[in-house]
Symmetry: C2
Subunit: 287 residues, 2 copies
């Protein structure tokens, strides 16, 4: 039986940490405010938006929902992002991606000022993750992985972490953040040879491929810590991770569940980054 690395206690601790900070901001007449930009009505975007709004409300964070039609032209999407950048009342922005193919996502992202980039979508934030800088924020999912490892006191210094997936949303940024914490990091992907073997040798395995239950017991060994970043639906329409939980859980030392693991902590990281962005903006103004 593996230790279950549940997201709930992490979410609760983050809430306790954020509450007095939100109070301090409100005492200075600042309501930390998150803009959520969505194009169209993809069910998973709508579901995440509802969860985020509920979480924000419980923390005293205001949400501005910017809902755009799925056929909104580039110029209008850009104008929306421009407005968010220039609106002093908005501290953070969450943009649901991918945008439709007729919209240049990179042009839209680059219109966001890094100070409000609470989900690491700008080159400035990502460059900062790579160079250990302080501009912007890392992607929330990558930050959630670190947060959950820290909460459960999983040792990182000198340890070998295998990250499967090399996206700019999880794989690459979480690898850089782990390196900064003095872990040794292997980045694998769809072209990796001997993936099972490489995974089995790690102290920690982070699965971020988006392939439903693709990781069975062959990929793991006793005592390992497993983070399952995947949020997929199986052929029966059931929510599941990248890891075949039922087969892997009896083998490893610790594992995050899906749902109730990385995903729920990710929502909290969105809130934590928004509060921090509001605090940074306040500090900047009072300088």
């Amino acid at each position: 039986m593996a230790t279950l690395l549940a997201g709930k206690p992490v979410v609760e601790r983050l809430a306790r940490n954020l509450a007095p900070r939100v109070e301090r901001l409100k005492a200075a007449d600042i309501v930390p405010t998150l803009a959520i930009v969505r194009m169209g009505e993809r069910p998973d975007d709508l579901s995440y938006e509802r969860t985020a709004m509920k979480r924000a409300e419980s923390l005293g964070i205001a949400v501005r929902s910017v809902a755009l039609d799925e056929f909104t032209p580039q110029s209008v999407v850009e104008a929306a992002m421009h407005d968010i950048t220039h609106d002093a009342g908005v501290h953070g922005c969450l943009l649901f991606r991918p945008l439709p193919s007729f919209v240049s996502e990179s042009r839209v992202c680059e219109l966001l000022v890094p100070e409000k980039d609470i989900d690491g979508i700008t080159l400035a934030s990502l460059g900062s993750v790579f160079t250990d800088g302080r501009t912007g924020f890392p992607p929330c999912t990558a930050a959630a992985c670190i947060e959950i490892l820290d909460h459960y006191s999983v040792p990182l210094v000198g340890k070998h972490v295998v990250v499967v997936g090399r996206s700019l949303v999880v794989g690459k940024p979480v690898s850089m953040m782990l390196l900064r914490r003095n872990a040794s990091v292997t980045i694998c992907h769809s072209r990796t040879e001997h993936l099972e073997e490489i995974c089995r040798e790690a102290d920690i395995v982070i699965c971020a491929t988006g392939r439903a239950r693709a990781f069975d017991a062959e990929f793991f060994s006793p005592g390992q810590t497993v983070l399952d970043v995947g949020i997929n639906f199986d052929t029966h329409g059931r929510l599941c991770g990248d890891v075949d939980f039922d087969k892997v859980e009896p083998l490893v030392g610790a594992i995050t569940p899906v749902p109730g693991g990385i995903g729920t902590v990710t929502t909290s990281m969105t809130m934590a980054h928004t509060v921090e962005a509001a605090e940074r903006a306040q500090a900047e103004r009072s300088e």
Copy 2:
């Protein structure tokens, strides 16, 4: 006996590739020009500068040497970088680092426009290496590693590369460049546990720690390809790499020598990037 991955044939091939490109630029009245910025007179900087000037001359690339006193104040160093950025006659800039501790290196680097950043010292270039973008250039040493692997047709797709060292000059950027080429990459460093074991399991090992002959036969296994990025002096004042060549060469499949390996190709990458910067500037103007 390992295959010797000598730099000379790579340098010669690059020269053959650059010659007609320099000619085409000259036909358009453009002399590709590299500014070399040096503070003080560190022997290794002077030595590298002489080598670079000789290599540039042989290729028809002009060099502007900007030699600053070792006590030059921040404002004057910044002014020199500002001039390079705004001088249309300069296409690339090589800045010898580290700068003295009283100078803010990051502020100086950020004054260079990424288009002339032929050695990956700006956040824009480094961010681009991380995000697979096209802004600026990767650091020349990282580029030299890829160039030498390509020249000797070392397979990368799906292969496991262990990079020891996590600097922004070699370790991190070469890891991202290898990932882009579909290798699996492990980044190790001074805090890594079981480093020998991790190295022994790789297809390719890149040693970039700057510790003289720190890698003996224990770190390697038969058939591996070894890139030695180190340029160190041993206790007898002799030039040597990070790898204990005499002990390792009989064991592995292929290895770069020091001197005559990565270092000499790095100088050629400086030239190749300068020519490419001049070509990009020309294309930009004629658009």
